[in-house]
Structure formats: C-alpha cells, structure tokens
C-alpha cells in the first residue's frame, strides 16, 4: 500500500461495544502479566522448529521483521496472553530473536528499520504540500467554469412577474 493511500480496513466506530464487557479475551486479566514471562513465551515460540522454518520462508519473501513482530505481539494481545504495553515492549525481543534465527540460517532479511531513515520528514512534507497545491489547482479549474455557467444561467433566466392575490408586491 502506498503511504498516501487511505486504509479502509479498520474497525467500525463502536465495534468494541458490540459485546458485553469481559466477553473478549483482551478484556480479561492477561495470562502473562510480566515482561520476563512474556519474553520467555515468545522466544520459546519463535525457536520452535516448525515456526522457525516458516519464519525463514517468510523472511525470504521480503516481509519486514517489524511487520511480523507487530503481528505476533498483536495476536498475543488479541488472545489475551498479555496486555498491550507488554506487547509493545516485546517487539525488540521478538525482532532480535527473529534476526538471530535469520543470521543462523544465513538468510538476507529486511528488518523494516531502513524505511524510517530513508523516509525523510522533509520529503513527506514537500510531497504533502505539493499534493495540496495540485488539488487546489484542480479545484480552481473545476470551479471556474461552474461559476461562469451559473452567472450565465442567472442572466438568461426570464423574469417572471408575480401574479395572483397572495404574491408579494415589489
């Protein structure tokens, strides 16, 4: 997806209120309350042979590790394994473990960290301003003929004299 494209794949406002409070796993107390146990859980899960094989295969396809790490921790939150803050703190551990597996297997992987360096803030700002100016120019082009036409229509409209008992006198 391009950075300037708007994503519509989002929850509908109020979607979280469609179930009773406590019906969802993330509304229950977390299974793993602290970061020590959460790190152990993720390291064990990632080091699993089947998972590691799939992970190496995914790395080869060029999926950034940041995306995989984010998905993993988000799944943990959804399943009620841990809270959101523990999940966020787990990202470096998950990423480092995945890099360890990638290096051990000799796979060239994309960490997903280079994007931030390459994507300079000035570039984004310039692009945004450019787009705004372009859209403004387009709007002007669209508006001008309409205005002319409306003026023309007003001029061409025949003057209808009010007739009848209830008509307002001028």
């Amino acid at each position: 997806m391009q950075p300037n494209e708007q994503s519509f794949d989002r929850p509908i406002p109020g979607m979280s209120l469609t179930h009773e409070l406590g019906a969802r796993p993330w509304q229950q107390p977390a299974d793993i309350p602290n970061v020590d146990d959460a790190a152990e859980y993720y390291i064990t899960q990632i080091a699993d042979d089947t998972f590691a094989k799939n992970l190496i295969h995914t790395m080869k396809t060029g999926v950034p590790l940041t995306t995989i790490a984010n998905s993993l921790q988000l799944t943990g939150v959804m399943e009620g394994k841990h809270s959101v803050d523990v999940g966020i703190l787990m990202i470096p551990v998950i990423m480092e473990t995945m890099m360890l597996i990638g290096d051990a297997a000799g796979v060239d992987y994309d960490t997903g960290l280079a994007d931030n360096k390459e994507l300079d803030q000035n570039v984004v700002t310039t692009a945004t301003i450019g787009k705004l100016l372009q859209s403004e120019a387009d709007n002007k082009d669209m508006m001008e003929p309409v205005q002319e036409q409306s003026v023309q229509e007003v001029q061409d409209e025949p003057v209808i004299e009010n007739t009848g008992l209830m008509s307002r006198r001028t």
Binding site: P3, A39, T66, L89, E96, G112
Partner: protein, 78 residues
C-alpha cells in the same frame, strides 16, 4: 504522518548503552554499626530501576544481540 511503532521501539531499545551485570558488593563493614553505614538508598534505587519492564527488555535484547553477533562472527570466520 507515517509512523512505524515497531521500528521506533526497536530503535529506542537498541540505542541504549550496554547494561553490564552488577557485581555483588560484599559489605566491608562489620560490627554493630554496619547496618547504618550501608549505602542502602543507592542500592535500593538501582534495584528499583532494574525491576522496570523496559530495563528488563533492554537486558534481554542485548543478550540476544550478543549471541547474534557471535553467530555472525562465526559465520564470517568460516
């Protein structure tokens, strides 16, 4: 604004200086006054920092990174 929280949190934790394991200091003082002469406040502050989740995560991340570097060096050597 385009943000990548995973990259940001990784970069932040990765940028932290190396956490060295603290040596357990044995109390040199002895006698009746020794409990009063201990620098209990300083050590308790350090212990508090070490219990912080971010600190624990940084420690784990650095340990895994060290192992990763060793594996990389071994692969480069062969």
């Amino acid at each position: 604004m385009i943000t990548n929280p995973a990259a940001k949190i990784y970069s932040s934790i990765d940028a932290l200086p190396e956490i060295k394991s603290r040596k357990e200091k044995t109390s040199s003082t002895s006698g009746m006054m020794s409990p009063l002469l201990k620098k209990s406040n300083m050590s308790s502050n350090k212990n508090n920092i070490e219990k912080e989740p971010a600190f624990i995560v940084a420690k784990i991340q650095q340990r895994i990174k060290k192992d990763r570097q060793e594996i990389k060096d071994m692969r480069n050597a062969t």
